[in-house]
Symmetry: C2
Subunit: 345 residues, 2 copies
Amino acid sequence: MQENQRTEISTIGEFGLIKRLTEHIQIQNPETKYGVGDDAAVLDFGNQPTLVTTDLLMEGVHFDLVYTPLKHLGYKSAIVNFSDIYAMNGTPKQITVSLAVSKRFCIEDLEQFYEGLQLACQLHGVDIVGGDTTSSVTGLAISITCLGVANSTGITYRNGAKETDLICVSGDLGAAYMGLQLLEREKAVFEGQKEINPDFSGKEYLLERQLKPEARKDIVEALAKEGIHPTAMMDISDGLSSELMHICTQSKVGCRIYEERIPIDYQTAVMAEELNMNVTTCALNGGEDYELLFTVPLTDHDKVAAMKGVKVIGHITKAELGCGLITRDGQEFELKAQGWNPLKN
Amino acid sequence: MQENQRTEISTIGEFGLIKRLTEHIQIQNPETKYGVGDDAAVLDFGNQPTLVTTDLLMEGVHFDLVYTPLKHLGYKSAIVNFSDIYAMNGTPKQITVSLAVSKRFCIEDLEQFYEGLQLACQLHGVDIVGGDTTSSVTGLAISITCLGVANSTGITYRNGAKETDLICVSGDLGAAYMGLQLLEREKAVFEGQKEINPDFSGKEYLLERQLKPEARKDIVEALAKEGIHPTAMMDISDGLSSELMHICTQSKVGCRIYEERIPIDYQTAVMAEELNMNVTTCALNGGEDYELLFTVPLTDHDKVAAMKGVKVIGHITKAELGCGLITRDGQEFELKAQGWNPLKN
């Protein structure tokens, strides 16, 4: 009898697994314009393209209820999906919400979760249209699917970056990751104690970035207002390095980014120092920033340079040049996607 | 200090919980035609209405991997979503698939799951357009969202049943529940043994109904061909009683169904006898049949009576008459929704 083959998922990681599982999929319907491979799928049911994206969040992997209030969790669960729609240059419109809950949760807990969810939906003009509520024998599972529509300036995929394009990011990077480190440290300190009252003063921004991230609706709107149509765009959920390499691979180009141009908040730098970590590494590989990474034609330089909350961090090159980081002292390093990948653990 | 209130979910059950969490939701977008409360939400992005439905399946609650082959699980996960779209008189078009997997699973396991998924998609003309693959510290979680379009004969909601309408069901009921009982019994018998080879001869249909259910695309197509537009429709996933009461509540009507008219397969009856269970109770309250329950105007009687695989089991009455079952010996019982409800356990 032939032995059943058993290949561990960790040997190929999340992206390798998705590729292996989906590479044979053939699209059957003309309404399906773009399937697996971007922040959202693109469907065409009529007047304007429909976008669809989904996220599955698992207790113990994506969140820790020891330090995550349920209202914040509801808010964040919605935001991470909206972010994927904005990353396609779209506007989120509807979500479905599925929850699997154990007996540990009471009605009031779920009401708090929904409060956060509804707050995010109100701020982004999104309707909760359905879902599924069931039980779990273990932890909490949250699955949200978001539908959106493409903006009138058209969809932005990951595969449109061209040589000489400028690479831009919104906001600042690494703070959510530092927030997570801080929470994990305090959790360890207070382990076993009933009343947890750690002092987070001076680090509020890090906590906010981890527990209550925002989706950059404002940036997408500002780009439209300025008449800038990014050639490629995605949101930064796994880390700048990882996302930039996705854009370069799919666009068949290379890139150069400059360490000194990477936007980092003061609190992030202080915390990295405190933890004896390299702040650039945190900004490159720390996840959950939910900022937008996009490329624009060189001719849009003056426009993007004038935009509030956007920074030009480098440029697109020929594919042969690979993906590189130029450090403050002028050295060049190859970018590596060491992004936050739960399937590698 | 005020004590935090804690109300157990079991006090209100799944439907009560959904109502409590969603009753305050206000629809903000004109594109959202119908939100929470039917088999699928209805959105309008252009030429034809878009349908969206979602299901979250948790290991240990919805499936047991001891006796569920992963290929079958993939197939079933897709089918249960397609069934919701058919129940709106629609055609499924796309799904997103999210999986949370523990280290117990290898790549080959997930390939088997995808094989089943793709088989179901091919048979129903559905595209896999995206998803999320992540890790789980506990069991397997599967979240599928299905998009579909309304058929040209229009959407069928749960709320359109009218007095004197005929109540119809497709296929037969209770077999999937009997299949589950059988598998659970054999699992208990073989507990702790490595090689499990139970004898299922004569009970194949029950196993098939539990492990490889079908979504009734054929019935929806046949209804369109016969020019029958059901006044209300839903799929039977929680049990006939429960679903019929949903239709009656939402349509503000009552009903009478006849025990002798409820379609039950021979194997289901034999198995119920063997387990000393009342077969009608199994048909009324056993879940996972994925048959269609629908109502049609009395004037369509001859047409539905002639349809293969469809049975008229009763009729709609005034709301004041409540929901009743007429037994074989002419007695009348009030229908109760004792459907399969994991949140009540």
